[in-house]
């Protein structure tokens, strides 16, 4: 891509960001808005720089917990979906309970998690897993159910076993959906990890908690920015795996030829 073309793709999303930073900085400097409502972007930047080691360590801790939670919810969610996809009765019986994981407010069950799993990582990982499992179940189930009927017939024609149909047909066919669900789940896993850390301790959650106590809004913003970054990192990782697996064949990954 030429320099010009590269600029053309970078600039549009960058401009609103630069504009809002300029506005926020002015508004706070001129005291039009009290500094405990919005921190000046320059203060947030200083926070990021001054506390970079602490933030980096905390971010690493949150990221690893979120990743562990994501792996856990992926394993459980996929198994659950595969089991439900093979039996209509099972699906009708158990799917409504899966919806519960979507709607349960994690901030209110987090204290329960501490009682069950103790302080520290186990609670954080559990929280990340609970919050991220539903999109995986919903997408995987959808993917497994939407197998092209003619292909199902083809497998039936050759008397394929259930297992062959599952591994050679249904799962590869469902991969685009599965990745779609994973993408959504990865952002949620970071949120779940941070909420878990509020109650269970550690990572960026405890940075936010402590900053809140000290009313250091700039630190809160800095931590929030970093946690968004974590979400982006995880989604990026999913995208990487997705493009490697799907690049040879799926329209979503292929560059138009």
């Amino acid at each position: 891509m030429t320099f010009r073309a590269r600029m053309a793709s970078f600039l549009p999303p960058l401009l609103p960001l630069l504009l809002s930073i300029a506005v926020a900085e002015t508004v706070v400097r001129m005291a039009w808005v009290p500094s405990y409502l919005i921190p000046a972007p320059s203060e947030v930047f200083h926070s990021l720089v001054d506390d970079r080691i602490e933030l980096a360590l905390a971010a690493w801790e949150t990221l690893s917990s979120a990743l562990a939670g994501l792996v856990l919810s992926f394993a459980v969610g996929t198994l659950f979906s595969v089991a439900l996809s093979s039996s209509d009765l099972a699906r009708r019986a158990f799917y409504p309970y899966a919806v519960f994981f979507q709607t349960v407010p994690i901030i209110s069950i987090a204290p329960l998690l501490v009682i069950w799993f103790g302080f520290g990582r186990p609670t954080v990982v559990a929280s990340a897993a609970i919050v991220s499992v539903f999109p995986i179940i919903a997408s995987t189930l959808l993917g497994l159910k939407s197998t092209e009927p003619a292909l199902v017939d083809l497998f039936k024609l050759y008397s394929a076993t259930g297992r062959q149909t599952l591994w050679m047909l249904k799962i590869p066919f469902a991969l685009p959906q599965i990745f779609s669900g994973l993408r959504i789940a990865s952002g949620l896993a970071v949120v779940g990890a941070i909420v878990g850390e509020f109650i269970g301790g550690g990572g960026l959650g405890s940075v936010v908690d402590s900053a809140r106590t000290q009313q250091r809004i700039d630190r809160v913003f800095a931590a929030v920015l970093i946690s968004s970054l974590l979400g982006i990192v995880l989604v990026g990782a999913v995208n990487l795996v997705s493009s490697l697996s799907l690049s040879s064949w799926h329209t979503s990954e292929r560059k138009s030829s």
Binding site: A150, L157, Y158, S159, M168
Partner: protein
């Protein structure tokens, strides 16, 4: 389905005994109304009828993908166990596999080793003249090439009964004509029983030795006759008088407007 002719063996045809077959679908009602016919091993039969006449349903019954509500359906292989091949209306290739791996699928499902499967698949791909494309993926192929892959896939198990459900309907005319010729050649070489569903009179007359015409739903047999044309079909035939006469004859029996010449 386990004693598929091994490498080197040739297939034989299957016989189909169809007696008073009826099938009703909820919502649609009676689709097949006491269908009876017999097909001898190695015959090339076209199943002709208007859209929605239930000919695809009949084909699925014969393929074993569905069960009749009443009547008797018996399919026997001339020797050994029965083996079916099916070519769908859409190529139905698995987009995550290349041409070779799509073709080897039936053999994988019945437990052949990867090497043996590849040998047999390559043979069939040569037969449909796609041997150079075995590493390509379906999205890189034209419609006609995808259909040929689908045919090659159906042939890997050396079926003694080959079922095709309007396979060339979505292709342009030159491709369609080319594939029709290829199908005839394959049949001439392998001599399996072929049951070819179509709504095109010209296609049915060109390909088959015998045509069964179905009515509108609920389908009954309107015509079951041999085609008076020479056994070796060539492109020249398409413009011959005999061909057009047969088209007229059959066309009159088909309940809706016959395909224009």
């Amino acid at each position: 389905m386990n004693s598929i002719p091994q490498l080197g063996q040739s297939a034989s045809g299957a016989a189909i005994f169809c007696e008073n077959i009826s099938r009703t679908f909820t919502g649609t009602g009676l689709v097949l109304d006491r269908i009876s016919f017999q097909i001898q091993p190695g015959e090339f039969v076209a199943l002709l009828g208007p859209s929605g006449s239930g000919k695809s349903s009949l084909l699925r019954l014969i393929a074993g993908l569905d069960r009749a509500d009443s009547g008797r359906l018996a399919i026997e292989a001339a020797h050994g166990a029965l083996s079916r091949g099916f070519v769908f209306q859409e190529p139905t290739l698995m987009p995550w596999r290349n041409v070779l791996r799509n073709t080897t699928l039936p053999l994988e499902l019945v437990g052949w080793s990867r090497d043996n499967a590849n040998v047999r698949a390559e043979e069939e791909l040569r037969r449909v003249r796609l041997a150079d494309f075995s590493a390509r993926y379906p999205h890189e192929l034209s419609g006609g090439m995808k259909m040929r892959t689908s045919v090659a896939r159906a042939l890997t198990t050396r079926p003694n009964l080959l079922l095709l459900d309007e396979p060339f309907a979505a292709l342009d005319e030159p491709t369609r004509h080319g594939l029709q010729m290829q199908l005839r050649e394959i049949w001439a070489t392998l001599r399996m029983t072929v049951l070819f569903v179509t709504h095109s009179v010209t296609e049915a007359v060109f390909l088959a030795e015998r045509i069964i015409v179905l009515s509108h739903r609920p389908a009954r047999i309107l015509l079951d006759e041999s085609i008076a044309l020479p056994p070796s079909r060539t492109e020249a035939l398409r413009t011959s008088v005999d061909y057009i006469t047969e088209i007229r004859r059959i066309g009159n029996a088909v309940p809706t407007v016959a395909e224009g010449l």
